[in-house]
Subunit: 196 residues, 2 copies
């Protein structure tokens, strides 16, 4: 395995109190900077905002991607939990799928540049890539399977592919008002429907 303990103790609480404090500070600072300057903001900016050195950032988050994952962890979780809930509350699986995809797209679109970095093939973002997709793909997969069983959509579409597609459609959405990412996502989902 190339990933050493990646999923195991990514946000293990540091032993010392000051370190724990810094980790919190860093997360808050990163969240603030991400909102202000986008997810691509320089690590130095985040360190400055938190009032620490760059080394400290890297002590807590081995790579920029880990920081991004940590900041958005809660929202990823919320998105994951929304899947089963929608499946129950919606009249048809296809509608649940559609709503869930909207949720996912909204999440990506509102974070400047998140989608771009999610779909980047830069090896440095593998962790991010994995964390997002590993958590959400099964959720999406269940929605997909349900809709498929109900005969509402065609067979054989991988959750991974759909999520990457949606993620891609959201790239650059908020920095270009001539491009309507949500509309494209709706179109994609519409294309899913298979009258059989």
């Amino acid at each position: 395995m190339t990933a050493d303990g990646q999923g195991a103790e990514r946000t293990a609480r540091p032993r010392r109190a000051d370190a724990r404090r810094n980790q919190r500070t860093l997360l808050d600072a990163a969240a603030a900077v991400f909102v202000r300057s986008g997810v691509d903001a320089p690590v130095r900016d985040i360190a400055a905002e938190a009032g620490v050195g760059t080394g400290t950032v890297y002590r807590h988050f081995p790579t920029r991607a880990d920081l991004v994952v940590a900041v958005y962890r809660h929202q990823i979780e919320a998105c994951a939990e929304a899947g089963p809930a929608l499946l129950e509350s919606c009249p048809t699986p296809y509608e649940a799928l559609g709503r869930w995809v909207d949720l996912f797209a909204d999440f990506l679109v509102t974070k400047h540049g998140l989608a771009a970095v999610l779909n980047s093939d830069d090896p440095g973002f593998q962790a991010l890539h994995a964390s997002f997709l590993d958590r959400l793909a099964p959720v999406c997969g269940r929605l997909l399977a349900a809709a498929e069983e109900a005969g509402e959509i065609g067979p054989g579409l991988e959750a991974y592919t759909l999520m990457r597609g949606v993620g891609n459609l959201c790239v650059g959405a908020e920095s270009d008002d001539r491009y309507d990412a949500r509309r494209m996502v709706r179109l994609l989902v519409a294309g899913l429907r298979q009258p059989r």
Copy 2:
């Protein structure tokens, strides 16, 4: 206008013979390096391949994006000319649109990282962005309008939006074999169809 003579004399022939020779060499070198290392290849690599200094690259192509545009100019042109042709040869405008989109997607997918750079919001790539879309959007627009008039698709979709959507779907297509960009593009086009 912020763009000074961008469309006017982008590839104006240099006065001196060695300069003209170098421009050719550079285009060839860039094409080779793009194939080998993708469109994101460092300018230094291209300069090295061509056997010139980096300054020379920038003398001929003010920015990396201009070089990319120059290299793919022919294919953009071909894609642009295919539009009207398809409109004539296809039984229905919608089918012409679908085929044209496939063409466009194929073009993007086969060039490593082209799509990513096309849809980047990095200001440095405005030139590229503009050259691609300014040339192709009218073509796409005509196909869209024809399909719309024929009642095959819903109204009010901008060519720009569709092209960015397709471009986005193609990001990272060739560096991730679990992701099937062409399939997503097909889905998007399918979603376009409006039974009305």
